[in-house]
């Protein structure tokens, strides 16, 4: 199959299916008329943002997008919580924000099973739920929650794999650094990468795979990559599941004197952007659009308030990034000009 065409395709349409197999709607299908905006403003609604983890660029961009759009809608954001990846903490957070009787909760479940009961309780309390990326077990769109907005995580996996394969000229040994936890988003990427490499690059062989558990993901990734590079000297490329682990891989490459290594990853963070801009070992990455995702989620929450029929599953396509399109990709993702440091490194 033709990688280049495939890569182009990834950027245009979404590959993942919804949690219940729904086919994805584009974000462009979601919008609010001025009239609707006015009615929503009139409601002076309260919204809570319940994150699984708030300690990275992705979450922050999401939150910014949400706050910006909610601002336009006159919705008051009363709480932003961070469960630090702990389902029990997230359940507590939901309990606590419910005490403030919010009209809207936008959330990403840290674990679809463990948190389900509490989300159902929230739904039963009449709260309009909009989910990011994943939906708790046993909840149905339109009934229990308004909608789920997802990045095309499968697509991200595909894109980063295609970029890796291309940069390697379609052959050689690679290692994969994945997330050693049953977390929907990262698992989709991992599956996609393995499948894509197999489908498109028969001459690329995965010779090493290492899961990392955190909390020090960069450090774990560095240990993993370091070990791969000493025990498999043939390795030409490494894939990292998101940007923080990728930073660890970059460090490992330099300490092991492998400036020729080829690294790709998911998510566009400033460090990896710099590594790419300065012709470092990062040769490409596949970005999500967290800011737009947040905006879309906010609007769908508006749908909920209005009782307007909402698409069950909205997804934003992956955004393949190389040094060539870095600057514009950055502004697409963060709605801000590329940072001075990245500019400086180009």
């Amino acid at each position: 199959a033709d990688a280049a065409a495939a890569l182009k395709a990834v950027g245009d349409h979404v590959m993942s299916l919804g949690p219940n197999g729904e086919k994805p709607e584009p974000a462009s299908a979601v919008s609010l008329t001025d009239g609707e905006l006015a009615t929503i403003k009139g409601k002076h609604a309260k919204a809570a943002i319940v994150m699984h983890y708030a300690g990275n660029d992705w979450s922050q961009a999401q939150i910014q997008g949400l706050k910006a759009e909610f601002g336009k809608m006159g919705v008051d954001v009363i709480a932003v919580t961070d469960a630090g990846f702990k389902p029990d903490k997230q359940v507590s957070d939901i309990e606590t924000v419910l005490a403030q009787k919010p009209d809207i909760i936008v959330s990403i479940p840290s674990d679809p099973t463990a948190t389900a009961t509490e989300y159902k309780a929230a739904a039963a309390a009449g709260v309009k739920l909009v989910f990011m990326d994943n939906v708790p077990k046993g909840m149905t769109a339109g009934v229990d929650y308004v909608s789920v907005v997802s990045a095309d995580n499968y697509g991200n996996g595909v894109a980063s794999a295609l970029l890796l394969g291309q940069a390697m000229g379609g052959k050689g040994d690679v290692g994969l650094v994945y997330h050693a936890a049953d977390f929907f988003v990262t698992k989709q990427r991992y599956d996609a990468v393995k499948k894509t490499l197999a489908d498109y690059f028969p001459d690329i062989h995965v010779v090493a795979e290492q899961g990392i558990g955190g909390p020090d993901f960069a450090g774990d990734a560095e240990k993993a990559a370091g070990a791969m590079l000493v025990s498999h000297r043939s390795i030409k490329g490494i894939w990292a599941v998101w940007d923080v682990p990728a930073e660890g891989v970059v460090a490992a490459a330099s300490t092991n004197g492998r400036d020729d290594l080829i690294v790709t990853n998911c998510d566009l963070g400033e460090n990896v952007a710099i590594a790419m801009a300065s012709d470092g070992v990062i040769k490409g990455l596949s970005a999500q659009r967290p800011y737009d995702q947040g905006v879309t989620e906010a609007m769908l929450a508006g749908y909920g308030l209005l009782g307007k029929a909402a698409p069950a599953y909205v997804a934003l396509p992956a955004l393949p990034v190389t040094k060539a399109n870095l600057a514009e990709a950055w502004s697409q993702v963060y709605h801000q000009p590329v940072t001075a440091k990245i500019k400086k490194s180009m």
């Binding site: 300690g55 702990k86 029990d88 606590t96 924000v97 005490a99 679809p112 948190t115 009961t117 049953d182």
Partner: protein
Amino acid sequence: MTDAAALSARKAPSPLSNWREFIIYIGFVVIFAIFAATLGSRGFLDPNNLLNIVRQTAIIAVVSVAMTFVLGTAEIDLSVGAVAGLASVATAMGMDHLGIAGGILCGLGTGVAVGAVNGWLTTGIGIPSFLTTLAMMGIARGVAMWISATAAIPILDKPYAAVFGGGNLGPVPSLLLWMVAVGAVGHVVLRRTTFGRRVLATGGNETSARYSGVDTAAIKFKVLMLSSVAAALAGMLYAGRLHSGRFQFGEGDELSVIAAAVLGGTSLFGGAGTVVGSIMGALLIGLINNGLVLMGLEFSQQLIARGAIIIVAVAISQTRKR
């Protein structure tokens, strides 16, 4: 450094020196009052919210009761968090194959097994409990991840969930009942039984305790067993509350549990501690977390505020005593 400072510095960790007895109560009351005044409008005083505080701290409180005994003997158990996670998985898997009773047995069995190993390595081989339980923490977490393939294992059994942390008895959350029950038993055992007395004697001065006829090794074995079983119970409560078993449950709880006990006046150097204090310590932490979320602070600000409040709370009560 003034000598007064030196004196207080010397007094501070002194077990049972009164301020430790009161810190927690003074701090709790002060902070509760402040939150009630400032967050009333945000539903802080809403009975359901107050019950939330209990729900969110009951599990920590349960383990901190057992930890009071462990610290009382001047040992430590860092494996409680991981054991809770493992027990939650064991319970869920056990239930899949052996039904509800089987599941409960698997959960408790996990606690007993880990406790026996911790106890034997510490008292039998003589490895410092800090190392034993630190290693056990990794082992338990690893086993939990392995047997569950890091996935959450759903528990569909409603009665189990209702009894173990999920449900309510009338208006009262079952978690509250568990906390009160464990707390009451723990309090009586520590204060009024020969076992409790031997625990504090062992921690207060092991040689003296031995000279007085206390089998200190047996005591230490028992308290380590106790804390593992309590941790297992905690895991089962997590499983009930979250309708599933997952290796992550309880992650990092060891620190919260020890913090609760120390806040409650238990000395890390052994020989002193009260169960009621530990429970109050857990509740204080839960109270603060709840209030800070209600305030709508950013997570980063919550971290800062929590640290500051704890310091101030302790400092107030401390200076009160001077």
